[in-house]
């Protein structure tokens, strides 16, 4: 007799199928698997922790409301990352529009970015934070489509195919965009130094 699979060994696609069938615990499993990953992705995008958490909560709410919209044509991770990316872009757009009316008021991007401190040696921590801070400053200067590509590739470590599906661009465009984004990032880092 085949041993029943533990829910933790199900693939993402199997878990969403169970959720579509009415298993609410499957939704909890999705939240557990993706909450931190999406938070880090959204944070690198909007550079504000509170807004990043709002984006992730909105993402899960949309997944809950539109569970039946997912079809197993693409990977589940592609689907959920696409939702998060679109929500993060909406926040950036709203922020840009707010800036037009309230240009005298500093938006989140003008504030000092509050980076999380990891468990590292004091000296290394300073060096890492300095580097991380510099990289974030340089990333802020990148155009939005470059920043998206480099976050998905170098931070989230998604494949070229997945990135192509998330941003809706051909594979060749994705490869070219990542290449140009990395070169541009180096130029910005040199200027910051």
């Amino acid at each position: 007799m085949e041993k029943p699979k533990s829910k933790y060994t199900f693939t993402d696609e199997e878990v969403i199928q169970r959720f579509q069938a009415g298993d609410e615990e499957a939704f909890s499993e999705i939240v557990r698997r993706y909450s931190n990953r999406l938070l880090n992705f959204a944070f690198r995008f909007v550079l504000d922790r509170e807004e990043a958490e709002d984006v992730v909560q909105d993402t899960f709410l949309k997944v809950y409301q539109n569970r039946h919209a997912y079809r197993e044509i693409a990977k589940f991770s592609t689907w959920i990352y696409t939702i998060t990316a679109n929500l993060a872009k909406t926040i950036l757009r709203k922020r840009r529009n707010r800036k037009l009316f309230y240009f005298s008021r500093l938006g989140p991007e003008e504030k000092d970015i509050d980076f999380p401190s990891g468990d590292a040696r004091p000296g290394q921590q300073t060096e890492d934070q300095y580097d991380e801070h510099m990289i974030h400053l340089a990333m802020k200067k990148l155009p939005e489509h470059f920043r998206t590509a480099i976050i998905l590739r170098d931070i989230q470590e998604l494949s070229y195919e997945e990135i192509s599906n998330i941003i809706g661009a051909p594979l060749g465009t994705v490869k070219s965009r990542i290449n140009r984004a990395r070169l541009k990032l180096q130029e910005e880092l040199i200027q910051i130094k």
Partner: protein
């Protein structure tokens, strides 16, 4: 042998191990001869490694509770919305009002353009038949006056040819009125004309 320009255009493929063996060999050959491209490759690789090791965030303690509350609130709102029945202006999409306004404007313009250009503003336009009736009637030619015929003598006629006595009932004002005199003159003229013809 590839150039620095070609090297830069394909550096990501090399870093991400997306090159075939031949291309990779050409790439590494260029690296050995070009210190600038070698430095660039080192910088990009180091940045990529630092980004991979970024401190990772975790969701806050209240994240799951907040999410649960939001899902419940959304579910309750949907149930409430489903219970509302009947007509409501809120159900009419906003673009429907725009279409209605545009249709009304077209009708008004059409009605306005249908008005004849010669009409005075505010004047009531009568149908053609009524306009004809209101015009002055055409001049009717006067009918010829029949000749005056003397009344036959009867036994009751007066024996003497005396002028007819004036009817005492006829007032002096009526006889002397200009209208009466005009009519008399006209009659006399017609009698004369008939006699001449005979």
């Amino acid at each position: 042998m590839i150039s620095c320009y070609q090297f830069k255009n394909q550096i990501s493929l090399y870093i991400d191990d997306e090159m075939n063996f031949q291309k990779r060999t050409e790439f590494e050959g260029h690296l050995e001869t070009c210190p600038n491209c070698k430095k660039l490759l080192g910088a990009i690789t180091a940045t990529k490694a630092r980004m991979h090791n970024f401190n990772t965030l975790s969701v806050s303690a209240g994240f799951y509770t907040n999410l649960q509350n939001r899902i419940l609130a959304d579910r309750n709102a949907r149930i409430r919305a489903a219970r509302q029945k009947g007509f409501s202006f809120h159900k009419i999409p906003s673009f429907a009002y725009g279409f209605a306004a545009a249709f009304l404007a077209v009708v008004v313009v059409f009605m306005f353009m249908k008005t004849p250009p010669n009409a005075q503003p505010g004047a009531l336009q009568l149908p053609v038949a009524q306009q004809q009736i209101q015009k002055a009637p055409p001049a009717i030619p006067e009918a010829p006056v029949p000749p005056v015929v003397q009344a036959p003598q009867t036994r009751y006629a007066a024996t003497t040819q005396s002028p007819a006595k004036e009817d005492s009932s006829v007032t002096g004002d009526a006889l002397n009125s200009p209208q009466h005199k005009e009519n008399l003159q006209d009659l006399q003229q017609r009698i004369k004309t008939v006699k001449d013809q005979n």
